[in-house]
């Protein structure tokens, strides 16, 4: 578990370097990746499905990057792209490719669909986080107009 934390932190920071994010936000990007990984690996202990845990952790990464972007005054893409890396369904995609190569098309399509579902869960988690912040902003704007 501790090893997983260190590894997710490392890989998210490495992605930050690959994407040339500003120096002062590298650490925050690593933290976003680590928090996402913590949630992603803790939820299955509470009997959550893969899709649910992926969705929740992507949403938390997205929310966290929105808050950090407000706090550090940089665009939130800086954190969210690195933060979702530990959630990427790499082994599922690999297994589906393996099935296709072994002419097991049914298994391949099953696994490919699963991969797509997990990718969709990441996407909807990201969207959820963005939408929540937009709603809060919109509510504040509406409140100001009502006065």
């Amino acid at each position: 578990m501790l090893l997983g934390l260190a590894l997710s932190f490392m890989s998210s920071m490495a992605w930050c370097v690959l994407f040339n994010v500003p120096v002062r936000t590298i650490l925050a990007g690593g933290i976003a990746g680590m928090v996402g990984y913590i949630v992603y690996s803790l939820l299955p202990l509470l009997n959550a499905e893969v899709l649910l845990s992926t969705f929740v952790s992507a949403a938390i990464v997205s929310l966290l990057s929105q808050f950090m972007s407000i706090y550090l005054r940089v665009p939130s893409t800086n954190f969210s792209v690195a933060g979702i890396i530990p959630l990427v369904p790499g082994s599922l995609a690999y297994k589906s490719m393996l099935a296709f190569v072994n002419n097991d098309y049914v298994e391949g399509i099953t696994l490919a669909t699963k991969t797509m579902m997990v990718a969709g869960a990441i996407a909807s988690g990201l969207i959820f986080g963005i939408s929540v912040v937009t709603i809060v902003k919109g509510a504040r704007y509406a409140g100001k107009r009502a006065q």
Binding site: L3, G4, L7, S8, M10, S11, M13, A14, W15, V17, L18, F19, N20, V21, P22, V23, T25, Y37, R73, V74, P75, T77, N78, S80, V81, A82, I84, I85, P86, V88, G90, S91, A93, Y94, K95, M97, L98, F100, V101, N102, A119, A123, L126, I127, I130, S131
Partner: protein
């Protein structure tokens, strides 16, 4: 305020954002905000991943210009800097001339991290992702090396092969061949883990994230075209992996 300078500043800011992997809605919003803060009326901006159009009305005359952005890389630092400049200009902290000069400076900037550091980062990312995907300590080094090879070949092949997707395909093929070689020499390693780690530097994370944000912001054309870009990358990597796996049988 001269409308030419406003136009130049807006288009420069927009093309820097678009060239370096920013979202389309951010491009449009930044240009519109700068133009409005400079006192232009009837500002309209439109961006797709390959082109920007901006039009506004200044003292009874309409001005419209369009620029194309043929090459795209990822440099989030420049986007942050442009964001900063536009925020300061809109807030009244700097004049238009200062903003334009700063933007020119930003456009000329080299990547923040040197090449070797980027390659090292790709190796670190691959190695740690391979461990996260269930590898042992033994798999760490080979997958880091495979990730390094993938990133190096993307960089050098890009100079010969002008097509982005074929570059990615060949890089994935080279990384996979290295994994195959390592596993043939040391049979106790897991080839699946090494390949999963090696393919990670090509994961189109930024394209997917941006396409989603564009779709959410209502830019359907930009969102869909970015999504297709991400999917083409994923497919070229998948086909390369499939070819490697068929050698293994």
């Amino acid at each position: 305020m001269s409308s030419d300078l406003v136009m130049d500043t807006c288009l420069l800011a927009g093309s820097i954002i678009l060239k370096n992997g920013g979202e389309t809605y951010r491009t449009e919003e930044t240009m519109a905000r700068i133009a409005q803060a400079a006192g232009m009326d009837d500002v309209n901006s439109s961006a797709t991943p390959t082109s920007i159009i901006l039009s506004f009305r200044c003292k009874g005359f309409d001005h419209t210009r369009m620029v194309r952005t043929p090459t795209r890389t990822t440099n989030l630092n420049k986007i942050t800097l442009v964001n900063d400049v536009s925020r300061r200009f809109v807030g009244g902290g700097i004049t238009l001339e200062q903003a334009y000069l700063t933007l020119c400076e930003i456009d000329q900037k080299k990547p923040l991290y040197p090449k070797w550091m980027q390659h090292l980062a790709a190796a670190t990312a691959s190695g740690s992702f391979a461990m996260l995907a269930g590898g042992t300590w033994l798999d760490l080094l080979p997958s880091a090396m495979a990730g390094l090879i993938v990133n190096l070949s993307i960089e050098y092949l890009e100079q010969f092969v002008r097509m982005k997707f074929f570059t990615e395909f060949s890089a994935a093929l080279l990384g996979g061949l290295f994994a195959l070689l390592v596993v043939t020499i040391f049979p106790e390693l897991h080839i699946s883990i090494i390949i999963i780690g090696a393919m990670l530097p090509m994961f189109p994370g930024i394209a997917i994230t941006n396409s989603l944000r564009d779709l959410l912001a209502g830019d359907l054309v930009a969102g869909v075209s970015r999504g297709v870009e991400a999917m083409l990358t994923a497919v070229s990597v998948a086909v390369a992996t499939a070819i490697i796996l068929s050698f293994m049988r």
